[in-house]
Each structure stands twice: as C-alpha cells, then as structure tokens.
Symmetry: C2
Subunit: 337 residues, 2 copies
C-alpha cells in the first residue's frame, strides 16, 4: 500500500517535494493546502508546473483542518516557514487531525536557544495525538549534523568537530541566489543581514543536535554571517554581479564548551565558488576527515531527505523526533503497485 | 549511572574493547567470561595487559550462565566467533539471563544466505527474554553498510552503490596480517583461502543490509577473494614478505538485481598498499562520492562502534536489531561520576 501524502505549503521546496514524489512513484500526493488565494483551487499540476498525471486531480485547498479530516492522509509534509513559533499553530492543527508530520522548518530540526521550550510541548502534543513529528532536510537535517554524528560513532574519543559546506551558488535556483544576497551592494547586503532576510537558518540547530548526540553541554553558540565580495564580475543564468558587489555569503556557527570552540560549522555559498564540497573533520581517535567533492545538491537533496523520512516517521513511536532518534536514514523506494 | 558491562570472549577484539572502556571511563567492566582454562581465574588487567585500576578486580570466569545471573550486568559484549551458528547457543544463554547483547559476530550483522532463518529465531528469542540483540563493528556494521545507507538517504534515485575499503595492512596488528595471508606463498595462500581461514567475513551481510534498506531484492550475492602478490620485498614490524609472495588480499562482494551488479563492495588489505581510504560512490540522483582518506582505523574503530552501540541496545525495544533499526550511531560519552 503506497503512502498517501498531504502537502502543506506550496513554495519552491514544497513544489520540489511534490514533483519528486510524482517522478519517484510508489507514493501518492492526495492533499494540498496553501493559504495563498492565488493558489487555492488550482491543481497540483498547475502549481508545480508538472504534467504528471497523478498531480492533475488534486486541487489546492485553504481549509487545512477540514481537508485533513476528510482526506485522512498517512503523513503530512509541512513547508511553510523556517520559524518554529510561526509553524507551531499549523503543527498543532495537523497533529490534532491525527497526521504524522515531516517538516522542513529549520528551527524544528533541533529546537534550541529561545525555541528550546518547544521540545517538551511538541513531544506532549505528539504523544497526545498519537503521531510522530520531525523536522529535517539537507541542512539542517543531514550534511552538517546527521552525517557528522554518524561518523562520531566510529570514534573512541571526540575532541572537536568541524564541518564545512561550500556551494557554488551559480548552479542553484534564483531564490537561493537572492537568499544569499548575490548582486547586492555591501551596504544593501548588510542591511538585509541585519534584518535577518539574508541568512541560513539552522546552524544553531545543527550544533545543538551534534552536542546533544555527543553528550556535550555547550555554554554558548555563536552564529555569524559575512558577505563574500566579487573580485571580478561573475554571473549565473539568473543574475550578474559586478566586481565589488556581493556575490554571496559566508556563515560560521560555533559551539563552545569550557571556553573552547568544540563544534565549528562553516558555510560558504556564492557565485563563482571554485568547487562545491562537504567536509567533516573529527579531531579525536581515530581522527577522521570525510569529503564529498561536488557537494550534496541542495534542492534535490532536501526534497529527497524529506521524502525518505516519510516512512520512518509513520512507523516511529508517537512523539517528537529528531534525526537522532529515528532509525538510520536511507533511500525510500516507495511501494510500487 | 554508568553502564555495567559483561565481556564474553577475550581474544584481541574482546581485549581491545576492554582496554578502550577502561580508558574512556563512564562505564564499568564488571564481568568477564572465556572458555580458555588458561584465562580463567586471571584478572582482566592481566588478560588485557593493562594496569587500569578498574580491571584489576574483575576475574575471568568460565561459568557464563551463573556469572551473568549473579552479577546482572546491564549489557554483554560478545566476541567469540565470526560464525552465527557457532555463537547461537551463547546468544541464547545470555539472552535468557536477561542481558542485552552487542556482538562482533560478523554473520550477526545482517543474517543472510544460509543464516537467513536466524533472523526470526533471534527476534523471537530477544522478545521472549525482553532484551535487544545486535551485531556490529567497523566492518560489517559501519564503513561498508551503515555509512553508504545513510548517504542514500539524501538521494531521490539510487541506481548502484560501490564501496571501496583499502587498508595498508602494515599498520595493523599481527593477527590481522596473518588473517589476510601476508607472507604466504601463492599456493599456501590459495589453500588457506579454499579452507576459509584467509577471508574477510561480512561482505555478504553488508550487501544484504544495503539491499534491505533500499528495498532491493537481490537474486544473487557473490563474494570472491584473490591474493595480492608483492612485486618488491615489503615488511611490517611483524613480518617480511619476499617479492613473489603474497602480501595480502583483495575481496569483492557483488549483489545482483535483474542480472546487474547494483551493489559492489571492494576491499584491499595488503602490506605496502599506497594509501588507506574508504570510498562510497552512489550512482543516482544526486550522484555522490564520499571519501575518507587515511581510512577508518580497524581495531580502534571496531571497539568504538561496539562501545558506542551499548547504550543504544540497552534503550532499544526488545527484539533483534541491526544498524538499520537502531537510532543514528553516535559517540557515547558514558556517564562520568
């Protein structure tokens, strides 16, 4: 029996998940919800610009609670916001309809800092409703937390973990290039960074997840962003950046224990980055350095991680989960008829 | 409260685990069992050649059942044999004493082929006794199965998985160098390979684990071994190999689906290998290639994987587990007082 999936939030990532499910097969998109009046009433085929037959008969609705109770999907994919406080009411509605949740909400991956109190709330809600809830994606959720944690499982001693994720942003979609501030002047970029609209959300969550897995008590997590300035003109299919303008960003998250930087997450995403890669280096015994040259493609992989997590959250005991508590991540083939 | 651990089987790996636990702290070795009359009555300090204070007061016993029922450890580490049929009676005794088990028995990592029937037997036994049972180590259990499976979790499509593990055997202990047949003539090596005493056990299990995780039905698994011949003289601190003699082995496990090789595990372990490394290449979308240059040190890492799995099997629901069903592997800090 193939999984019947509800889609809540039909932005770029929500749509990438829908088209990937249609292409992969063995699963069914049966319900779609968005608040945008421009989307309500359209088919998933129209919204996701796909002619996959399975998407032509599902129409977008705005009445989430009624739709979920009527259609009774096996699991919901929630892609509406990075902010846990903002998605909390949506999570409550979905869970109370008895539907397990996989969400791309970055702050849900491992609630920490001002969101730490949500962990107990989420777990109580999930148990009361008898469903599993988890936040995941490629980052946070995979390359900068789950993978480094797994590697620590081969160690007798871990002193420090450094993770690097460098992405040539030229190969990514326009919204991603805008999100990193490519094409802005340094002043514009700084203003957007200050107001929080240029920023990767998730380093704090990844650091908190790694620290929890290792049993480390961090006294402080820092998260700093800086612009990458183009030394020469550089362009992508979507936009052009003059020399002296911003072509992207660098961001560093650091977790401190006893005054020492024990977890360092370093990201670079800019047009013209020489090579995309993922790197995890564990200082300890054995010392390990893992590299994935070429990197893990962001949009495909986020959709893939979410979809591959669906059967795991459906089978998981009721409660709030993280990638630490679910079974080992793996590709999900679906159930072909 | 720190984990109280029983050690059953005090060969090189059993002892590596004991000394690592003593060095790491936050756990206690409270019980030790071996059948060798030469070992019974000695302290763990003597057996493991360690002056760690915690090992001087634990004496090796031969009466496994009585010792377990008397000492009531939280978990047992079982390191007696690669063969599942041979360890089955030991597993039964330990489980019936109510003690969860982590074992380095390679064939337990994912029972398959002639051992496939053990899966249901192990699960029934484990549930009846209310304990978790798992087989793991660095290989099988980590680098050639768990890690590739995790990476597949970022993919929307997996066509083929190739894993390579190349080890410069010169850096390993003497028993490992003997196990790969270093120093033998080609004829002697072939005779030992034919009788099964030169061979890595676990490729079949790793392939079956990967296939299960991906939902692939393999029609056949092959596992072939060949000698690596020294072109020039090569030596380690333990032994010397003349040109023309065997300096180690190569082994290839292949899983076939619809006539195609979809899982390829390639191992090389010989004196004079230019560089140790781990590599996993996934053909699919996104295509991924992960490398760990320098490799994952075998003996330290096998002990580390086993020890890091102890708290997970203690907390797991009763039943037979594999690395696929347990939560994400991670370093275990122990509970320092």
């Amino acid at each position: 029996m193939s999984l019947r999936i509800a889609h809540i939030g039909l932005g770029p990532i929500g749509c990438a998940i829908i088209t990937q499910i249609a292409a992969r097969g063995g699963m069914q998109s049966v319900c779609a919800i968005d608040l945008d009046p421009q989307k309500i009433g359209k088919t998933l085929g129209e919204i996701a610009a796909s002619d996959a037959p399975s998407l032509q008969n599902v129409s977008v609705r705005g009445d989430m609670e009624a739709a979920l109770r009527e259609i009774r999907p096996d699991v919901a994919v929630l892609c509406t916001s990075s902010s846990l406080p903002r998605v909390w009411p949506q999570i409550e509605t979905i869970a109370r309809a008895g539907v397990p949740i996989v969400s791309t909400t970055e702050e849900l991956a491992f609630p920490s800092g001002p969101n730490a109190h949500f962990t107990a709330q989420l777990d109580a809600l999930a148990r009361e409703c008898g469903v599993g809830i988890v936040g995941t994606g490629v980052n946070p959720g995979f390359v900068m937390d789950t993978l480094p944690v797994l590697l620590s499982g081969a160690c007798e001693r871990v002193e420090k973990i450094r993770v690097e994720r460098v992405q040539d942003a030229g190969a990514r979609r326009l919204p991603f290039q805008l999100k990193i501030g490519a094409g802005l002047s340094v002043e514009e970029w700084q203003r957007k960074a200050d107001e929080g609209s240029v920023r990767h959300v998730g380093l704090r969550e990844s650091i908190a997840m790694i620290a929890h897995a290792l049993g480390w008590n961090l006294e402080r997590i820092s998260d700093e962003i800086s612009p990458q300035i183009a030394e020469e003109p550089v362009s992508s299919p979507h936009l052009s950046v003059a020399a002296g303008q911003v072509c992207g960003m660098k961001q560093d998250g650091v977790g401190y224990q006893n005054g020492e930087a024990v977890i360092e997450l370093h990201m670079e995403a800019y047009l013209g980055a020489p090579q995309s890669y993922e790197m995890t280096r564990i200082a300890g015994s054995p010392a390990l350095e893992m590299r994935i040259d070429g990197g893990v493609a962001g949009d495909i992989a986020t959709a893939a991680v979410v979809i591959n997590t669906l059967p795991k959250i459906v089978s998981a005991p009721a409660g709030f989960h993280t990638m630490l508590s679910l079974p080992l991540p793996s590709f999900y083939r679906g159930n072909a008829a």
